[in-house]
């Protein structure tokens, strides 16, 4: 029906139009007031447009199109909901001179997000991914502090590297298939001659966005630096773009044992690394960021497991389901940081309770949406070592979440402070959605009846990692010494020093006495470039070269 297609257009078009509007010299604060409404068409589309609705746009790009697919619908709905809720918070909490600019970046990022989940062809998909990545930079650096700018620099650098890898991956895939449509590429990918190259590049590109170790370093820097609502969408929606990309292009349903093993290894490493580095953080938002890293590792493990055997399997829907829950829950937790910061006295206790519930839901607390998410991925994971390690990781997640709760509890605002409704309600909404929405989606995503979730064995399976985690933490608090601190972004500090030194050298090309091999090489390139330029300007040098070029060209011509 035509209004279905119109809704697809609106899901992308409305935020796009608002972005264009934000570029005009605006009336003060108008754009920020519009933020809660920008994602509503997307939400409506996710709820109302039937799967398979396509909107071809043959005049644009190389023949682009929008399409509503089952997987995209989940991501579209969750993302739109989160963008709306966080938009309400942003409208209330982002103030000051630069709020309109913030709104512009917000809207552009949202446009990218909406287009990403609806894109039917690789060109629009890549376009969306690039818009999403590059506009999010504006959200990261919004505060303008030295910390935010450093986070932004590193984010941008890695984003560009990721974009390049992704573009190459998509090109290698598209060049072998002869179609720009994602569905065609996905189905033809397993048989391509350069399949492995394409997959490796795409996994690098998407993995960077999803925070796979060792490409995760931007995440714990960017999340704490951004304003609260921006962190919420970063973790809840933007990081998910990487997962969504993997789900769009990985040929799930075909057995690729090598890739399966690689992804499972990568995923589990990330899952445990995130826990290990996150436990030694001092700021609540940094702990949450590392938890996101860890959780994305788990989703990638599930996707990897899906590649182990042929047949459709449930890996795709289970991973989507897990990502949906995580998006809502993590979004809510980031919002809770802002809420708890403004909740003093008697208002604090119930809010802490809700935060605690949501946090433990991520670890799989029985009867919460999180428990269902953990349950859904059990099937695709099977019973091997990977499954055991995923289950055990819940212990780490519990530790991480308790650590987060300890950190936010420490914050003691004045007793008379109460969070404003516009800040409180989005948090409550996201938290409740995270706790309850999975109940609606569970049967479709896991192929299991809801009753399965209530069986005693299932409940115990979800509960013991939590209890173990709590016990370990109690022991650590009782007997432990002061924990060491891991710098946010762990691996980034030494790399940053090297890069800074190298860039400094490249600019002053006549550098004396180089110290590192890399620096020496760069200095030599610079010096050589200077000499070549001087020679190319000398007519007595270049005139013979021109005459010689005639001879060479004649010899090269058949």
């Amino acid at each position: 029906m035509s209004w279905h297609r119109f809704l697809l257009d609106a899901a992308v078009g409305v935020p796009l139009l608002l972005t264009a509007l934000a570029l005009l010299p605006t009336r003060r604060g108008l754009m920020i007031r519009l933020l809660p409404f920008a994602a509503l068409p997307g939400l409506a589309a996710a709820l109302l447009v039937p799967s398979g609705t396509a909107q071809p746009l043959p005049q644009t790009l190389l023949g682009a199109g929008l399409v509503m697919e089952a997987q995209g619908r989940v991501f579209l709905g969750i993302a739109a909901l989160l963008w709306t809720l966080a938009g309400i918070t942003a409208r209330a909490s982002v103030t000051g001179e630069r709020r309109d600019r913030f709104a512009g970046f917000w809207l552009a990022t949202l446009t990218g997000n909406m287009l990403l989940v609806l894109a039917a062809d690789v060109v629009s998909f890549y376009l969306a991914f690039a818009i999403l990545s590059l506009s999010a930079f504006g959200l990261v650096v919004h505060d303008g502090t030295a910390e935010a700018r450093r986070a932004g620099r590193i984010y941008l650098l890695l984003a560009i590297v990721g974009e390049t890898a992704l573009l190459l991956g998509l090109l290698v895939a598209a060049s072998g298939v002869g179609s720009v449509f994602i569905a065609d590429i996905r189905s033809a990918l397993p048989a391509l001659p350069r399949r492995d190259l394409a997959l490796a590049l795409m996994i690098a590109g998407f993995g960077l966005k999803a925070g796979l170790v060792p490409l995760h370093v931007w995440l714990p820097l960017a999340h704490p630096a951004a304003p609260v609502p921006a962190s919420a969408v970063l973790s809840g929606a933007i990081v998910k773009a990487g997962i969504f990309g993997l789900m769009q292009f990985l040929p799930l349903g075909t057995a690729l044992p090598d890739w399966s093993g690689a992804l499972v290894t990568l995923g589990l490493t990330t899952a445990y690394y995130g826990v290990a580095a996150g436990l030694f953080q001092r700021r609540a938002k940094a702990v949450l960021a590392y938890s996101t890293v860890s959780q994305m590792g788990l989703i990638v493990t599930v996707l990897g497991a899906g590649l182990a055997s042929p047949g459709p399997g449930l890996a795709l829907s289970a991973a989507g389901f897990y990502a949906a829950h995580h998006g809502l829950a993590k979004g809510a937790l980031f919002l809770s940081v802002g809420v708890l910061h403004a909740a003093g006295g008697a208002s604090r206790r119930p809010l802490l309770l809700l935060t605690g519930l949501t946090a433990l839901a991520i670890a799989g607390l029985p009867f919460t949406g999180g428990a269902l998410a953990k349950l859904a991925v059990k099937g695709p994971l099977g019973t091997g070592a990977a499954a055991l390690l995923v289950t055990l990781s819940a212990v780490g997640t519990t530790l991480l979440m308790l650590r987060f709760l300890m950190l936010v509890r420490r914050d003691t605002p004045a007793p008379h402070l109460r969070p404003r409704p516009a800040v409180l309600l989005p948090f409550a909404g996201a938290a409740l959605a995270a706790l309850t929405l999975p109940w609606l989606l569970f049967p479709a995503a896991s192929g299991q009846a809801l009753a399965y979730a209530f069986s005693p064995a299932t409940l115990w399976g979800a509960a013991w990692p939590l209890l173990l985690g709590a016990a370990i933490l109690a022991g650590a608090v009782r007997w432990g010494r002061a924990a060491p601190v891991v710098p946010e972004g762990d691996l980034v500090a030494p790399a940053e020093r090297l890069v800074n030194a190298a860039i400094g050298r490249a600019q002053e090309w006549q550098a004396p006495a180089p110290q590192l091999p890399l620096q020496g090489a760069l200095a030599r390139v610079g010096a050589a470039a200077g000499r070549v330029e001087a020679a190319a300007a000398r007519w007595p040098v270049i005139a013979p070269v021109l005459l010689a070029a005639v001879v060479v060209l004649a010899l090269a011509t058949v």
Partner: protein
């Protein structure tokens, strides 16, 4: 009505009129700009068109022929020239030296005439006349300022260009001696791979490479383009150098495909790759805005030559199966728009800040926000980020490189894109720096000087977003070698 001859005659008439009008020549552009846009648009809808001038058929007469390739560039040229003209009218209105302003307008129309002539001409001598007109007007534009440094730049440009003219003419003489015609279609039919033909091909090609500032013959370009007044730089970088490459394309894809073996293609591709890498490295080493933009032209021109090894070498299953040739043509179009936008923006920024040293540009984005924004948009296209025309071009070229199993050329493009990000990030950073340098004062500039670059930058962006129509246009009557490859 679509008369190719009119597209040459009209700017030529304007050129003559401008000689007499002096500074008031600025007013002409408000007529010629829209008129040429309409005429080129009509031509683009009527192609293919052939017009034997005066009713004389080749080889005795000269025919103007418009195919999709020509039409696309004619429209782009009209757009760039119209916008640059509007910009220049304001830019020179405040010029304290009336002679410079008066001298600009005849040169402006001479360049426009010459570019159109080159796009429509299919006769090598006709192309020679166009090239000479283009070169002489271009050199004079560089010398407009009359300072010692710009005179030196103009003289160096003239040396390279005259060398190119001479070899081009020698080549043309050889071909005429061998085939008794210089009409490209007739030459293509009669072509035989003998010594005279090969020597002529080499002579003409090297002449064109020198005029197109392809590495290692690029040294004249950066001082010339960076030293000219902003509107002149925009025309020079967007249109003038490109015209030589376009003739090179016509020559090899229309006339000489049987001569283009793997070795020649690799050689051309190698020159292009060197230009991409070398130009980018040099751009990174600059610390002023206009030289960065000028070296970026050196780098970007290199991409066009990559069409030689990549053209057509791919599977026919692609929905856009016209080879890397189309990608290169797309690249030339989008670079024309984006580079003109960038030079105009740089000119506005210089007017506002009084300098183009990167370390003195802090705070300029607040003084000229629209021009700064235009610079950023143009940079997006040059870096090849979506959804710009530059992205589409690189997408086409890269797909072909992969499909043809030529990952080496793809690597050049990718590295070139990353280097472009590096050399453009520095000026963008400098513009966006909030804190002005010590003692910096910013002048107010007229709105036109900010809007003109924005218009062109947005056009470069739209070329990518609405790429289907230009893509179709380029395909009309394109040479067989564009599909089938050169080897």
């Amino acid at each position: 009505m679509a008369e190719p001859g009119l597209l040459v005659a009209l700017p030529l008439a304007a050129c003559l009129a401008a000689v007499f009008l002096g500074r008031r020549g600025a007013l002409l552009v408000w007529v010629t700009g829209p008129l040429m846009l309409v005429l080129t648009w009509q031509l683009a809808r009527a192609i293919p068109v052939v017009e034997p001038l005066g009713g004389w058929a080749p080889p005795l007469g000269i025919a103007l022929r418009a195919d999709g390739f020509a039409a696309a560039f004619l429209v782009m040229t009209a757009l760039v020239a119209a916008v640059v003209g509007a910009y220049a009218a304001t830019y020179f209105a405040a010029d304290p030296r009336p002679r410079r302003a008066a001298a600009f307008w005849p040169l402006f129309y001479a360049v426009w005439t010459a570019v159109n002539l080159i796009l429509l001409g299919r006769d090598l001598f006709n192309l020679y006349v166009g090239l000479e007109l283009l070169t002489l007007a271009g050199v004079a534009m560089v010398a407009l300022d009359g300072r010692a440094a710009t005179l030196a730049a103009a003289l160096r440009y003239l040396l390279f260009a005259l060398f190119g003219s001479v070899t081009f003419l020698i080549g043309a003489a050889l071909l005429y001696g061998r085939y008794a015609t210089l009409d490209m279609e007739l030459l293509a039919v009669a072509l035989a791979p003998d010594t005279a033909t090969v020597a002529a091909a080499a002579l003409i090609s090297v002449g064109l490479l020198a005029k197109a500032a392809i590495f290692p013959f690029h040294a004249w370009l950066p001082p010339a383009h960076a030293g000219a007044p902003a509107p002149a730089s925009a025309l020079l970088s967007a249109l003038v150098v490109k015209a030589s490459v376009l003739i090179l394309f016509r020559l090899w894809f229309d006339v000489l495909p049987p001569l283009a073996g793997a070795l020649l293609n690799a050689l051309m591709g190698g020159l292009g790759a060197m230009a991409v890498l070398y130009g980018s490295v040099q751009a990174i080493r600059q610390d002023r805005l206009k030289p960065i933009v000028a070296y970026s032209t050196v780098a970007q021109l290199g991409y066009l030559l990559l069409a030689f090894p990549l053209a057509g070498a791919a599977l026919g299953a692609q929905p856009w199966s016209a080879g890397a040739w189309t990608g290169a043509v797309f690249h030339a179009l989008s670079h024309g728009l984006a580079k003109a936008a960038m030079f105009l923006a740089a000119g506005t920024i210089m007017l506002a800040a009084g300098t183009d040293r990167l370390d003195r540009l802090g705070g300029v984005a607040k003084a000229v926000p629209v021009a700064s924004f235009a610079f950023v948009i143009a940079a997006v296209s040059l870096m090849g980020l979506p959804p710009s025309g530059g992205f589409l071009a690189k997408y086409l070229l890269l797909t072909y490189a992969f499909a043809a199993q030529q990952a080496g050329w793809a690597a050049v493009m990718v590295v070139g894109g990353l280097l472009a990000a590096v050399y453009l990030a520095r000026p963008v950073n400098a513009l966006m720096r909030a804190a002005p340098a010590e003692g910096a004062r910013f002048a107010r500039v007229p709105a036109v000087l900010q809007l003109a670059p924005l218009l062109l930058a947005l056009a470069a962006m739209l070329l990518g977003i609405l790429s289907f129509e230009p893509y179709r246009l380029i395909q009309v009557n394109n040479p067989a070698a564009a599909h089938e490859g050169l080897q």
